[in-house]
Symmetry: C2
Subunit: 461 residues, 2 copies
């Protein structure tokens, strides 16, 4: 192991340089205008896997963007770890809030990252994180220390709901067969308190449309006599959450896992610092579901958020129009044992129920994802905890995160393997936001932890 | 007069051809990208005035877009009519709803316009309407039938609040001195029931901003614990109008003119056809202030409408973001004796009052305008009514319109002259909307009515 760690130490700078090249590719899967960039990114990932020492590297076609595969099988007697990651990124808008262009990576020190952080779209989510696995694999190959078989599955549609992944996994169960799945696409509680993510929320995502008149109207001539779809949509959105922060959709909480008072106490050992939380995002006050802490609200409780709203005139100056239509994108984060199909259906029913008679409402479901829990008494959890404790020199706690990686549930169902979520970001990394970044400290701690995980997992620790 | 009408008849087709040339100019005053087109339009208007026979034609500089002036003074003993119009147009978006490009005019027959209508941005508002005055003037000059002095004042900032007009009028009271002002920028009740507009609503227009966190956040990691500005804005908008259609802003109705039951009965003689109204805009049902008819809701009652809303991710696909900010454009139509300053102040106070503590709210006032009433016992009203009765061969009724032409109050104050609103559009002309159009029948009836107005007004009828 020492030889592996030495190799990592000696090649630190090159690893970052190579990551910069990947970050320069605008692989925005949500925007068709960037499809050439997404495809180019897949090819680059394949080259990196080959150079690191992987066999059978392939850019596999799908209905959507390709999935990059590679493997190193050293013995049928050893366990196999499937590494999952994604090379696509979120759209960078609003562009004007980035201090430098999102696809021109640079390093800058911050209060939380005294060693510097890499700023770029995808730095933490997920290029910087999956690339740790490529570089840790290279180090194990060079040091001849690979402890078990490894397979790589790096997809290009995670940010648009992993549309092609399930079909691909189902068609390739033999190729992808494994004992566990290792994913770095989450964050730790803090650099002082490292954690392994043991729970993720699921997701239901819909787009809604409210249509009033069949064309845009002059608000002087028609104002006061017709349903204005912006007002109707606003009223409907205001009816989705009540004054206690409860979601009002009929039956929304029916299947929600009830976390015991004991488990809630254990979870709240992670010290919640409301002032630090508020200051980190310039907020005057938090809000949320009554009788739950901020930590609980963002992990063990389901939530609903409008992610976008638009309608009418949004340009410069003043236009006196009553628009024909108004739109919103609405997502719900789910907890065990809610399912996206159930919640999307309940949302649709309720949204139609609260619509006034004089408008037409359409609900279009986007992708969804199941919530996921990894029990702390599993071999996977123990191997990750121990690896990170060695690398960080600190006790590692289990942690439930509010984000979603919907494919963990699918992997379990199709491949029969649990996913271990050993991510190394911080929640302040601004993923999905302007000025996304990833700490150099975190990047290197990740690369060091991965070979230790392989060793621990193979040895059954 | 017969010679004038003959000239109009003989030159009908050319008048439309010339209007087409004006409509091809994208004189969008709200969008700085089109400033060259706005300036070019001013020059074209000046050329048309000169060609029609006006003297002292001038493209007058202002702080914003130029004002085109021209005049024909035939005798100091005769009254002077100041014709006002505007050569700028509304932005054409949403572009994808236009059947043909907005600045490529064409003629098409419709159910309401069996003789055909001119489709283009600005066809009715206001190029097609002010151009009637240029052509009627040309006809009177050619037929040597001009009954009084005439001055033209055609501005280029009406759609952005006539920002430079007041200063210009104040600096040129001598040049613009007149006995009455004639404006064609309104609509008649229908081609079967022509009307003269005797009242217009005023306008208060604001843009609001709600800021929650100081940057966009990942809705998985933060959702459920922070104020989402889209939700906050939606709740605030839903609190502006109650279930009875009353605006809830404190003191909003304090100064509203109380229209007598008698006057309301007179007004409601204009047959309101709720089914036809609904069908014309594809609506399942109307709504509005309790105890008022649709006609009253859009004329003698003040209203509030969101004209635009935006925030978060509005592009293709799904992005799981909690935006830092959400925005809306909100306008209020005012009636006598409300004033824009009063209402903007009351709105701002109330909007801040209903804002929760954990967000930051900003209200930015745009332009405003005073409401206006022309009594039906004036010389101006009688001259217009008689002119249109001759041209249409039908009784003409007084009509209060819901739209705003804020400058009428300013003209009265600075020039001491009443404006007569002799517009010829229909409320179905889709002004400010895709596929704006103006009936050929209406265009020609306007050109015929104008010389009759000049004659009636001069003769004191």
């Amino acid at each position: 192991m020492q030889e592996t760690l030495n190799y990592i130490q000696q090649n630190k700078q090159r690893f970052v340089d190579e990551l910069f090249d990947l970050l320069k590719i605008a692989s925005i899967s949500a925007d068709p205008a960037y499809s050439a960039e997404v495809l180019r990114c897949a090819d680059e990932v394949a080259k990196h896997l080959t150079n690191a020492g992987a066999d059978k590297v392939e850019v596999c076609k799908t209905e959507g963007y390709p999935i990059v595969y590679g493997e190193k099988i050293i013995s049928a007697d050893l366990p196999t770890v499937l590494v999952y990651g994604h090379y696509d990124v979120q759209p960078p808008d609003p562009l004007d809030l980035w201090r430098k262009p999102p696809f021109e990576p640079y390093i800058e020190k911050t209060a939380l990252h005294p060693d510097g952080a890499i700023f770029a779209r995808g730095a933490a989510d997920d290029k910087g994180q999956f690339f740790m696995h490529v570089k840790a694999f290279e180090a194990m190959m060079k040091a001849n220390s690979l402890a078990c078989n490894v397979k790589f599955l790096i997809e290009g549609e995670e940010e648009v709901g992993s549309k092609s992944l399930e079909a691909f996994v189902k068609q390739n169960t033999e190729k992808l067969s494994c004992d566990t799945i290792l994913i770095s696409d989450t964050h730790i509680y803090s650099n002082e308190q490292p954690t392994v993510t043991t729970g993720l929320r699921g997701l239901s995502y819909v787009e809604v449309e409210v249509e009033g008149p069949n064309r845009d109207l002059h608000s002087g001539l028609y104002g006061g006599a017709v349903p204005n779809p912006i007002h109707v949509l606003s009223r409907m959105i205001s009816k989705l959450i009540d004054d206690d922060g409860h979601i009002t959709i009929d039956g929304f909480y029916d299947n929600v896992e009830v976390v015991s008072a004991e488990d809630r106490a254990e979870m709240n050992k992670l010290k919640d610092d409301p002032e630090a939380f508020k200051n980190s995002i310039g907020l005057k006050g938090t809000e949320g579901e009554k009788d739950y802490t901020t930590l609980e609200r963002t992990s063990i409780r389901p939530t609903l958020d409008c992610n976008g709203i638009w309608g009418g005139y949004t340009g410069e100056g003043a236009k006196t129009v009553i628009p024909s239509k108004a739109f919103a994108k609405i997502s719900m984060r789910l907890v065990p044992y809610q399912t996206p199909d159930e919640i999307t259906e309940k949302f649709t029913k309720y949204f139609n129920k609260i619509a006034p008679d004089n408008v037409k409402v359409t609900v279009r479901p986007h992708h969804g994802g199941m919530p996921y829990v990894l029990p702390s008494d599993t071999k996977e959890f123990r191997a990750a905890k121990k690896a990170m404790e060695t690398a960080f020199g600190k006790e590692v706690l289990p942690y439930r995160s509010g984000g979603s990686i919907p494919i963990t549930a699918m992997f379990e169902q199709v491949l029969g393997a649990k996913s271990v979520l050993m991510g190394f970001g911080l929640d302040s990394d601004a993923i999905h936001s302007p000025n996304e970044h990833y700490g150099l400290f975190n990047f290197y701690k990740g690369i060091e932890s991965i070979p230790l995980f392989f060793e621990n997992y193979t040895n059954g620790n």
